[in-house]
């Protein structure tokens, strides 16, 4: 066991800033949708728009970071060990079994995480952004687009993706408590360091 840097500074900044923005977007977004009244429609819309643009900028940096560091490989899906992980979460965690996955800095996400995060990055997020930008620029749609697309359809996709995001977050936050202790998986996301079965000193 050795203490190694698992989540680098940018990665942690990205994660937590994104978390803040997504919570803001969910809270204001469901108000805009009409689910409740909190800030008032006007302020909710303004905050939602600011948070959305911030998230887009953050993601541009994150995409650049993923490509230049090769970290995108962390999200390449694999079936190898997937069912063992699923079995662990459904049964093993209650019977006292060890987590079947051995985390390394080169492969820090287990196969289920890889799938979930990949779905988040390639499914939910793009759906939200494309529909969100269409929503935001509804009045500037070119005629060809306006002929085939309605605001209602765009709002439908945007809201459906928001529900998916909410479900992802509930599951994500809960599963972050499923380490050896309640906070053992969350701490590395704050400090960057985790005790892993690999030699220390690697970046």
């Amino acid at each position: 066991m050795s203490r190694v840097m698992v989540y680098k500074r940018f990665e942690r900044f990205w994660h937590w800033f994104q978390a803040l923005l997504i919570f803001s977007l969910l809270i204001t977004g469901f108000e805009i949708h009409g689910s409740y009244s909190l800030l008032g429609f006007g302020d909710a819309t303004r905050l939602h728009t600011i948070a959305a643009w911030s998230l887009i900028v953050l993601w541009l940096f994150a995409i650049f970071w993923h490509i230049t560091t090769g970290e995108w490989r962390q999200y390449v899906p694999t079936r190898d060990g997937l069912f063992a992980v699923m079995h662990y979460y459904l049964i093993g965690t209650f019977t006292g079994a060890e987590h079947p996955y051995r985390k390394t800095t080169k492969a820090k996400h287990n196969p289920l995480q890889r799938l979930a995060y990949l779905f988040f990055k390639l499914g939910i997020s793009p759906a939200i952004w494309v529909s969100g930008l269409l929503y935001l620029f509804y009045n500037d749609w070119p005629a060809t687009l306006a002929g085939v697309l309605s605001l209602e359809a765009v709002a439908f996709v945007h809201t459906a993706a928001a529900f998916a995001m909410l479900v992802f977050i509930i599951a994500h936050v809960y599963m972050a408590t499923m380490g050896h202790t309640l906070t053992s998986l969350i701490k590395p996301m704050v400090t960057g360091y985790e005790d892993l079965d690999e030699p220390a000193g690697k970046p």
Binding site: I32, H33, S37, T45, N139, E152, T159, F163, I170, Y174
Partner: protein
């Protein structure tokens, strides 16, 4: 520096500090319209010294210099009371249309023609009198406020002391015509208002957004017309061309795409908000995204009849004619002190601070004409109909006063009926409270058919709302429409975030969220249970 400060009068210093303070605190400054000085002092004209036997003699004096004015007036709707609608082909105008107030002007001369821009139109079966001297210059150009077309004299002021209202003991004195003639000037709010504020038989009765409170309104009632705001006269927006006034209720410019009117580029009619404010008037871009679907008035006139003058919202003619045990007419009042019943007119409901009715509108209004058969089995009957819809790019959502009530119709010919309500004869409704007699007389007087059988049908009528614009901070908030209880609920053809949502998406979405939460909670509880079992 000290000298400089001393040199400045203290008053200027205070004024500039106040101005700076206003600028700093961001209170928008709105300069009142400045009028160019007149090129003529009418008190210096011999022709206006008088004496004048009648108002029409004043007109003769006016026309000695303003040689073309009478001809110009006689070409306008203000004179002909006729309007050829280019879109619908209908011939409208006060001579032709029926409304849901007193019905038709026809058969109610000289009461209704007291608002004609002329003198002596006693019989509307005939066109207005032809003489140039029959044109009324003073109603629009009097600046003294002393000129008043007496309500029952077909356009003339009274020339002898006369009681009004009838039975009130209040005596109206003849106007000082030489004084009025020597003080003529550009039309102000009170000039136009002397007729347009009193449509439907009284102050504020008809329009809802036009009443006597606009003679000198607060900024919060009308930022344009307020002496503390723009101090606009009506004609600052309803710009004129040879006495022809722009801005029609029969053919509204529902979406002015010309924008700001610039000499040499546009038609120079300013009777639309866009004429001055342009097509993208908001600093906040998202608000400009609304102007293609919403009329400016929809957000910027949050309610009408806000000046303390109530407007009629319901008028049921079918109950008119009830008398008390002594055979005397009855008057009752509602809790707000507004008249709720008159034997002459039936039941009323009045409204103040009324939230408008909203509808898609392309500017074209069609009328149910008095000779038009209509479907009597499906009340309420629309006295006028609004063209336009959500798929028409020329339409926008507009605010309206929705006037409702009950009016007489011919049960055999299935048409509306001219109603002879006013008249010194013994047949008018207001002199003998007898509907059959009044309707029969109206038919004979107007030549319009009447079978003798009548009943009352519920009607509704739409009146576009466009005046009483408060400062922008009093405009509707986003949530007025973008909410569950939206003002635009039921408008159709538009997706309003915060109001419109797919109910199935919500049901399924929240169900999945709830299931996920439940799954997480059960999983967590099981973890606690199993850990305890392991420990024990």
């Amino acid at each position: 520096m000290a000298n400089l400060i001393k040199a400045l009068p203290a008053r200027h210093l205070v004024a500039s500090m106040v101005t700076a303070l206003l600028v700093l605190t961001g209170i928008p400054a709105m300069a009142a319209v400045e009028r160019a000085p007149a090129t003529a002092d009418h008190s210096k004209f011999k022709a206006l010294k008088g004496p004048f036997e009648s108002a029409s003699e004043v007109t003769e004096a006016c026309l000695k210099c303003h040689t073309e004015a009478a001809g110009q007036i006689k070409a306008t709707t203000h004179w002909t009371w006729l309007y050829e609608h280019q879109e619908t082909g209908q011939t409208l105008g006060k001579s032709k249309v029926i409304n849901s107030f007193c019905g038709m002007a026809v058969t109610n001369e000289p009461r209704c023609t007291s608002c004609h821009v002329g003198y002596g139109w006693e019989d509307m079966n005939q066109p207005p009198p032809e003489a140039d001297s029959a044109v009324d210059c003073l109603v629009c150009h009097d600046t003294t406020g002393d000129y008043w077309k007496f309500p029952t004299l077909a356009g003339d002021p009274t020339y002898v002391p006369r009681e009004w209202p009838k039975g009130s003991g209040n005596m109206v004195q003849p106007p000082d015509l030489p004084k009025i003639a020597q003080n003529v000037g550009a039309s102000g709010r009170a000039n136009c208002g002397s007729c347009h504020f009193y449509g439907g038989g009284g102050d504020g009765v008809k329009h809802g957004d036009l009443d006597s409170s606009l003679v000198s309104p607060d900024r919060s009632l009308d930022v344009h017309m307020s002496p503390d705001g723009g101090n606009f006269s009506c004609s600052d927006c309803h710009s004129t061309w040879g006495h022809s006034v722009s801005g029609s209720r029969y053919q509204v410019n529902a979406k002015d795409t010309l924008g700001i009117d610039i000499p040499g580029h546009t038609d120079l009619s300013r009777a639309s908000c866009e004429s001055c404010h342009g097509g993208q008037p908001h600093e906040k871009e998202k608000l400009n995204d609304h102007v293609d679907k919403l009329a400016c008035q929809t957000c910027h006139v949050p309610a009408f009849a806000r000046g303390g003058v109530p407007t009629k919202m319901w008028w049921d003619w079918s109950t008119a004619g009830k008398l008390d045990e002594n055979g005397k007419p009855i008057t009752t009042y509602d809790e707000a002190g507004h008249v709720s019943y008159l034997s002459e007119k039936g039941d009323f409901r009045h409204g103040e601070n009324v939230v408008p009715y909203y509808a898609w509108f392309d500017g074209t209004v069609e009328y149910t004409m008095v000779d038009e058969q209509f479907d009597i089995d499906n009340p309420p009957l629309e006295i006028n109909r609004l063209d336009g819809g959500p798929d028409d790019p020329a339409s926008r959502i507009w605010p309206f006063k929705l006037m409702r009530g009950k009016q007489p119709f011919d049960t055999e010919s299935k048409t509306l009926l001219a109603t002879h309500v006013f008249g010194a004869d013994d047949s008018s409704l207001w002199s003998n409270y007898d509907w059959p007699k009044a309707l029969k007389f109206a038919s004979e007087m107007s030549g319009m058919p009447f079978s003798g059988n009548f009943d009352f049908i519920e009607t509704k009528m739409y009146w576009p709302i466009t005046h009483m614009v408060p400062p922008a901070d009093q405009a509707l908030r986003c949530g007025s429409c973008h909410s569950g209880e939206s003002r635009l609920a039921g408008i159709g053809g538009i997706y309003m975030p915060g109001h419109s949502a797919n109910p199935w998406l919500d049901r399924i979405g929240w169900l999945v969220v709830a299931l996920t939460l439940a799954g997480v909670i059960i999983h967590g509880l099981l973890r606690v249970v199993f850990r305890k079992r392991k420990q024990s």
